[in-house]
């Protein structure tokens, strides 16, 4: 596996006490990339003290099962510290990934960012 340069993978915006995270990449794939996205998300919680995370998947056209583990860990971490994770803007095909794996029962998924902001 070739090394990948450190580059921005997330766009983070604070709206009140809610942190909205948009993904830069259209495809969330390969472990190294997912590891870096995971590191950035965990930094928001563990180092920057964010507790309400809204992940906006509007830009994301494709992701594989490799990313699901990170989302589960992030959900677990936020639950441990009294925080909350909400996902929004998920395409029909990617939503199917969450439904087939039944992770739509564990993770809170809403239609769009506006709905997400009022769901914490």
């Amino acid at each position: 596996m070739s090394s990948q340069p450190r580059r921005q993978r997330l766009v983070v915006e604070d709206i009140g006490d809610i942190t909205v995270v948009n993904f830069v990449d259209k495809k969330i794939l390969d472990e190294q990339n997912i590891q870096m996205i995971g590191d950035d998300l965990f930094r928001l919680v563990d180092e920057l003290g964010r507790r309400k995370l809204l992940l906006n998947f509007t830009n994301v056209e494709f992701m594989s099962s490799a990313a699901l583990g990170k989302l589960i860990r992030l959900h677990q971490r936020l639950s441990q510290v009294g925080g909350k994770l909400i996902l929004c803007g998920i395409s029909k095909s990617i939503l199917e990934i969450f439904e087939i794996t039944k992770l739509d029962k564990m993770l809170k998924i809403v239609k769009d960012e506006q709905t997400g902001l009022s769901s914490f």
């Binding site: 794939l29 494709f62 699901l68 029962k105």
Partner: protein, 145 residues
């Protein structure tokens, strides 16, 4: 059209996906089918290289695929010891829901029309019928367990 490829590294997965996508587009497969096949290729090829060949770059993954107007078929063989798909825990069982991995096979079975494992489990064949054809909804999917 039919084609054969041999790959060894995770970076090569993109190459296979791009080539297959072009072949599917040439046969008028729709967006939904493209997503399904790309996902299944990602899961199956990463499994073959990572779990099958244990990321050993000297080991190969043999890929043979065929695309026609109504179906896509692919055979993927790695040089690993194989596995029994029946031994993989059901990731949707409540006790497994928080497991961090193990969902690839489930996704492949749901997004493809037919999936079969062969030999010692180091060979998988997958079929996707073009949207609107029989079996596309997964109802005719073979139960490989």
């Amino acid at each position: 059209m039919a084609a054969e490829l041999v790959i060894s590294r995770l970076d090569d997965v993109r190459f296979v996906q791009t080539e297959v996508k072009e072949a599917l587009l040439a046969n008028q497969f729709g967006d939904r089918d493209l997503f399904s096949v790309e996902l299944a290729l990602e899961e199956a090829l990463v499994n073959a290289i990572k779990h099958g060949n244990q990321l050993d770059p000297s080991k190969r993954v043999f890929v043979r695929y065929e695309v026609s107007a109504d179906r896509f078929e692919i055979r993927i063989e790695d040089e690993g010891p194989g596995f029994n798909p029946g031994d993989v825990p059901d990731p949707t069982a409540p006790e497994n829901l928080e497991r961090l991995c193990g969902r690839g096979l489930l996704l492949i079975r749901n997004f493809m029309s037919d999936v079969q494992y062969h030999g010692r489990g180091n060979v998988v064949t997958m079929t996707k019928f073009r949207n609107g054809k029989a079996g596309d909804d997964g109802a005719a999917m073979a139960d490989v367990r």
